[in-house]
Amino acid sequence: MTTTSISENRFKRFMRHVNIPPVYYFLVVIFLGGGILDQIFSDGQIFTNQAILLNIIVRSVALGIVAVGQTLVIVGASIDLSVAYTISITAVMSSYIMQGKTENVPLAILVVFGIGILIGLINGLIITKLRINSFIATLGTSLIIKGIINATFSNYTGSVPKSFQFFGYSTLGPIPVAIIVLILVVFAGWFLLNRTKFGAHLYGVGGNVEVGRLSGLRTDRVVIGAHILCSMSAVLTGLFLVSRLQSGAPWVGPDGLYDLESIATSVVGGTALAGGKGGVWGTLAGVLIFGVLDTVFNQLGMNPYLKTVLRGAIIVLAVASYTYRSKKEAA
């Protein structure tokens, strides 16, 4: 008896500690709703075929990784619009350096992460030292990267060796490597935000810069750090995409809408655009919601334009539900 009550207490405490973001209920509703629609109007594979479930997550990996980075930046009351072209430059540069040879892989990874860190550093410096609004600053760097890529590459460039496709396609037991990477990235993001000084300071800077400064935080460094991590997450997404596509093309980033969708998923997941509030678990739910929607729409054979309309509507609905709730709390 006592053991059960203790474990119950522990469970309750754990639940309170973990503090499941409400967006997960939304995810469950969308999944069940989508599955039921699938049962009625299509072959009902969402509930029966495990492969589809896994596929939902694998499709979410690319967006998921970069969205974690984006969440860090948004928690710090900044934003990064340059992730899409950071993904592109990673994809083309890595496959250009690899040229299908395994021995070039380490160099390629080193170079693209170097580029990522540099982009993040530049973003962070422009925002903190030149005091330029993050939206404009990263839009600017985004255009600069775009120009550089377009001047250098115009189509698929180079290729990745078979060995590198491990990242995109192979599995560890029944679980795809990509999913493990996504989970690791989300966990790292959670650890960073909730267990480290960096995270606490990022919430501080994002919540109120002045409070942060008066508490002795080196606010600029915190913001720059977040931007570097965000660009690195974009690089990781770029590497994942190129390992699946087998060759890098300059349009992979912007075509995937990774800039706006990483922001949208963070916000759907409950991270406040104004900063100082939110976290990566919510973002993961946001990403999975997008994945489930895509799968459901595909299963139903829906018109692609209608798909976009529905996606937009769901983003607005999700965020509206937050404002509604917080208004109710306030009253």
Partner: protein, 528 residues
């Protein structure tokens, strides 16, 4: 204390050595001398109030002590040792902590994270959350509020008073020896003020020096042992509370005494017909409100914070309308369902929170003044620089009427002083031809001189036949201005009092004293 004793004490320097001392501090800002050769001493175990009009230099002095400003000349001595601060953090580490009026807390973080922001107990950058929460709990216990505030509570879930306690806990965590508070009681209820007072006394007994700025003399006299008065950046003097009366302090602040403070009340022949009649009206905050407002009178609404004062004003103005009962406006039944209806029916509302509800800080004076008249115009109508189609010269006329002190009506309102901003708000409603004015805390956070001119202005309005409903938490203002007083308690009107009622009479009603049998009603309410 005799002269002899004093000299003896001076020899045993340890005992009376000031904890903090400023010597001939001066600070100029472009165009103004904010502080001019001010010298002051703060003793350990002393509660010291700093008062003065806006612009007297109080805030500048506090910011210099807290390391937020660097003085141009002069020096700061901490325990007799000269110190210089170039960043608030340095002052904090030396034990000088400031709590600003606008709190420096993160609403979406827990109490513990807020207290230890930037100093989280950690190893290799990883926070020891358990230790942090425990340390926070110890701090809260130290100030005796561990039962009220949990270290894991979100700051946004706390009341203003509780947030202030968190700030104090944070200050103590720096081993603060000097605690500076800027208007600590401005947003607190009576009960909360008492709680704060108890805490401050406790801190004082532990040898801390507590310095606080206030606009409210009542509290200064409740709280402080010494009062320092600043005026125009200069030290007027430091006095012991026991040796002076509030009138004396006001005199030091403005160079005139308290009696000249308010314009004369209205005479019976000034009051006209009833323009606003509310009968048995209620909404979710208010119960069974009935009252009449006549032309030419100031009807004061007294009550403690949370008694429904502001809610009543908002109901009349249609922000949170009455859901039952009836409202008669100038003899006609009327439902005021939103502010636009109220404005069209010539009701003006000078809100409590000027910064967020009364002005557009980044817009020029002229556009602020024309806000209401433009709001009721045709949406695509032409805009005139100084007025509307009917009266093209509105802005300069209004400016003269309310006496805004500015060199140009193009100046952004954020650069005006609090008093001048309030005048712009007033002008905005005069422009709309309002003849029923609601004032919610018309002089909060405004210096004494501007206060007097706003009081004069309110009285001038009534002379033109305008009816004024004035909400105030400052009893002297209620008593000095009102031709009748309604006292609110717990969402309803507890009673009506005639002009020149005394503070105890109003307080008794406002604390619900009539509902408690013991005569010691005020302190009984305070213990809730």
């Amino acid at each position: 204390m005799t002269e002899e004793q004093k000299q003896k004490d001076e020899k045993t320097a340890n005992r009376i050595e000031p904890l903090l001392e400023v010597q001939s501090i001066s600070k100029r800002f472009p165009g103004v001398v904010a502080l001019d050769n001010v010298s002051l001493k703060f003793m350990p175990g002393e509660i010291h109030a700093v008062v003065g009009e806006n612009g007297a230099g109080k805030s500048t002095l506090m910011k210099i002590l807290a390391g937020a400003y660097i003085p141009d000349t002069g020096s700061i001595l901490l325990k007799g040792e000269k110190v210089t601060f170039s960043h608030p953090q340095q002052a904090q580490h030396k034990g000088i902590t400031i709590i600003y009026q606008e709190f420096n807390l993160l609403p979406d973080r827990t109490v513990a994270y807020n207290i230890f922001l930037g100093r989280e107990p950690s190893k290799f950058g990883i926070i020891d959350i358990r230790k942090m929460n425990k340390d926070a709990e110890d701090l809260l216990r130290e100030i005796g509020v561990e039962k009220m505030i949990s270290p894991t509570a979100m700051v946004s879930s706390l009341s203003v008073a509780e947030q202030q306690l968190v700030e104090i806990a944070k200050a103590i965590s720096f081993n603060a020896k000097v605690l500076i508070m800027d208007e600590p009681t401005a947003a607190l209820t009576y009960t909360e003020v008492k709680l704060l007072l108890d805490l401050v006394v406790k801190l004082k007994e532990n040898g801390m020096a507590v310095i606080f700025i206030s606009h409210r003399l009542v509290e200064v006299f409740d709280f402080a042992e010494k009062i320092t008065v600043l005026k125009d950046g200069q030290l007027v003097g430091t006095v012991n509370v026991t040796e002076v009366k509030p009138e004396d302090v006001v005199h030091m602040m403005v160079g005139r005494s308290l009696d000249h403070y308010f314009p004369p009340l209205g005479k019976p022949e000034d009051f006209g017909e009833v323009v606003l009649k509310v009968t048995n009206a209620s909404n979710k905050f208010l119960k069974d409100i009935s009252f009449e407002l006549r032309k030419g009178e100031v009807l004061g609404i007294a009550g403690l914070q949370g008694s429904g004062r502001t809610e009543m004003a908002q109901a009349v103005f249609g922000v949170e309308p009455f859901t039952t009962g009836s409202v008669e406006l100038r003899g006609k039944a009327m439902i005021i369902k939103n502010p636009a209806t109220a404005i069209k029916n010539r009701i003006g509302f000078v809100t409590e929170d000027r910064k967020s509800e009364g002005i557009l800080p980044k817009q020029p004076i002229r556009d602020n003044m024309l806000l209401t008249v433009r709001a009721i115009q045709f949406v695509f109508g032409p805009i005139f620089k100084n007025g509307i189609r009917k009266t093209k010269n509105l802005v300069p006329n209004l400016g003269k009427q309310v006496d805004v002190r500015t060199d140009s009506y193009d100046r952004e309102v954020q650069y005006l002083s609090g008093g001048n901003q309030q005048k712009v708000v007033l002008a905005k409603w005069l422009a709309s031809d309002a003849d029923i004015f609601i004032f919610d805390e018309p002089t909060r956070g405004i210096d004494v001189e501007a206060k007097a001119s706003i009081h004069d202005m309110i009285r001038d309005l009534t002379k033109k036949g305008i009816a004024v409903l004035m909400i105030s938490s400052e009893l002297p203002e209620i008593i000095g201005m009102s031709d009748r007083v309604l006292v609110m308690w717990d969402g309803h009107i507890e009673g009506e009092l005639p002009a020149k009622s005394s503070e105890p009479e109003i307080m008794l009603m406002a604390t619900g004293g009539k509902h408690i049998k013991e005569p010691q009603s005020v302190s009984a309410a305070g213990k809730e």
